[in-house]
């Protein structure tokens, strides 16, 4: 804080500039804008938080998509004086498209509209109309005044008509484990552990992180895309046997049969298969500022731990992220465009639809020559 005060003074700003907290790069401070995603860490006695601060302007849509890809909850700020505006629509679409499970709409600056219940209800109503067009699973709308701290930590005395939860209380109590897909057993193999020592001569352990569902000893499994079946002989963590592994745990799986498995393969529950296909339809957010995406272009698709060359078969339609209108006959996508595309991969991909399984429905497109990540795909 002291450093920020000092920096605020050298830049001749009259007051302490809180943006200096998140604008960590020289060019951001010089221009006075947030360009890149910043991660901040804080905690209350009840929970630890990572805040992802993303810039809001349309030219930084790709940064917003990047920030949203790992978020459990999004706070969308609406200015009570202006209500639902273009930026609200855009941010809400991104939150919905990226499948952020919880959205809080904080109607801010309530003090500037006389803390009026009618003004709040009007905004809440128009936001709910907007949300109907999207897929937001858990929506909370809260009237706040960030300046006065109203309904942030404590219930506001200026808005006695509001009986709902405060912002912090939602943040502290929202159930994020429930948002994980606990049904579909998916495990992308990252690395094969083969110590090849005398005592561990035949050891073959498949290292990976449970993407969804859970696995336990004895479970019947299938390896995709090869479709070979086996059973789980043992699950280990840090070299010690554990009874089961659930979503998000990084473990090592050993199988009963000696089958050929390598990085890029997926182990799944035998009676619960993802889709295995070379033809994929996806929503894509295009992120390259140099080259456009056009039908016929070839990229590397990275999905889980698998990489496959792919070619773009077509652009079905583009989505205007402000109006939500579908635009047909689009020839190419440029930076920050969102569209539904069809692509074909060189090898089959074992995926689930993104809205059903975020972990196994996400993929990135990589430019084969520059190696830059150029597209974010939500497989449909």
């Amino acid at each position: 804080m002291e450093a920020i005060e000092r920096a605020s003074k050298t830049r001749n700003a009259g007051e302490i500039d809180l943006a200096l907290l998140t604008d960590g790069l020289r060019s951001e401070r010089e221009q006075g804008i947030t360009i890149d995603v910043a991660y901040k860490y804080f905690q209350t006695p009840n929970r630890k938080f990572i805040s992802i601060d993303a810039p809001g302007h349309i030219q930084y849509t790709r940064n917003m998509v990047t920030g949203a890809s790992n978020a459990d909850l999004a706070i969308i700020l609406v200015d009570a004086r202006h209500g639902v505006v273009e930026q609200t629509r855009r941010h809400s679409l991104i939150a919905s498209m990226l499948g952020i499970p919880h959205v809080i709409v904080a109607v801010n600056k309530m003090d500037l509209v006389g803390n009026s219940e009618d003004a709040f209800l009007e905004i809440a109503k128009s936001y709910k109309e907007l949300a109907e067009k999207l897929s937001i699973r858990d929506l909370t709308i809260i009237p706040v005044s960030a300046l006065n701290g109203d309904n942030i930590v404590d219930r506001s005395e200026s808005m006695p008509w509001y009986t709902g939860e405060t912002l912090l209380s939602v943040l502290e109590t929202v159930n994020v484990l429930k948002d994980q897909n606990l049904e579909d057993g998916r495990f992308a193999v990252q690395y094969v552990i083969r110590p090849q020592t005398d005592e561990l001569h035949d050891y073959r352990g498949y290292a990976g992180r449970v993407q969804s569902g859970s696995f336990k000893k004895g479970d019947a499994i299938k390896v995709l895309p090869s479709d070979r079946e086996s059973k789980i002989a043992k699950i280990e963590f840090g070299g010690n046997e554990i009874p089961e592994a659930s979503v998000l745990e990084s473990v090592t799986i050993l199988l009963e049969d000696d089958i050929d498995i390598s990085r890029g393969d997926t182990i799944v529950s035998v009676n619960n298969s993802p889709i295995v296909s070379q033809d994929i339809e996806a929503l894509v957010c295009w992120m390259d500022d140099k080259k456009t995406l056009k039908p016929g272009n070839k990229y590397v698709l990275q999905h889980g731990t698998a990489r496959s060359r792919c070619s773009i078969r077509g652009i079905e339609y583009q989505i205007d992220i402000n109006s939500y209108e579908k635009l047909d006959e689009v020839e190419a996508l440029k930076l920050n465009d969102v569209a539904r595309i069809v692509l074909r991969t060189a090898q089959p991909i074992a995926y689930d639809p993104y809205q059903k399984n975020r972990a196994n429905g996400a993929a990135i497109l990589i430019d084969e020559t520059s190696n830059v990540t150029v597209g974010a795909c939500m497989i449909e």
Binding site: M1, A3, A7, T22, G24, L25, R26, S27, R29, I35, D36, Y39, K40, Y41, Q43, P45, N46, R47, K48, I50, R62, V65, T66, S69, N70, Q190, Y191, I193, R194, P195, L200, Y203, G205, A207, G208, R209, E236, F237, G238, G239, L248, E249, S250, T252, R263, M287, V300, Q302, H303, G304, T305, A359, A362, A363, I364, I366, N371, V372, T373, A376
Partner: protein, 317 residues
Amino acid sequence: MSISVNEASDIQREISERSAPDYLDQLEAEAIYIMREVAGQFERPALLFSGGKDSITLVHLAKKAFAPGKIPFPLVHVDTGHNFIEAIEYRDELAEKLNAKLIVRYVEDTIKAKGLKEQTGKNASRNWLQTFTLLDTIEEFEFDACIGGARRDEEKARAKERIFSFRDEFGQWDPKRQRPELWNLFNGRIQKGENVRVFPISNWTELDVWAYLKREGIALPSIYFAHERELILRDGKLLNNTPVIEPDPEDQIVTRQVRFRTVGDMTCTAAVESAAATLDEVIAEITISRISERGETRIDDQQTEAAMEDRKKGGYF
């Protein structure tokens, strides 16, 4: 500080009972996932090891990630020759215990071989020169990925850096041209000569590292805990009294009870006055401290507002 250590340890107990165990498991699983991505995506990775608590945590995570196999990459240390003896001893013991391959390269050798000019005068440090040795080492062994213990809560430029941080053939970081990093899909594709710096504990805070060290029962170099030491008091900072620090007429030599929050080069790492002699006491102390350890004790970060960003652009870790 207005909160006593007793009150702080109450706060800490409250925090750890309600949320920390689960949170540490998640951080650990994420870091192991990242380590395995490195082993899976790269041909010749290395783990940069300094003997500091963050890289000690990394080694422990790597051990868990690849057990019962060996860590599939060497530990690399760029030794400025100005390191704390306690950290160097710890480094050698750990490498021997793990039967890990340890590669040490010396800044002193780079200075001689390349005729580099060292900084002189007050606050002279070899910290910047480490970059030359690091880049030479990367070239010598053709490392395509270097795992490091940097965390985003340490410093504002680091808060913006990716977990897989792409460096060009000159080792340079370009903050404006970072690859978008989505979900947990890390893109480690590079051309020959380029490399990626990988930070598996990006999302850990200083407190998380300490809580994890405690939970896992990991031993640390003794300088992390309170002890009496002779120090140089300079501009309000307490530096180790060693011949490698060039004296200044205004220096005062004092004896204080201190510990180190970071373990870097002796020339740019200051001690903090502390009575915290155990892990629990250190955790209690950090819980109530609001300044990150780099902000408090690193003279190299305080020279200009963008000191870390500038060093990273030049190839620094």
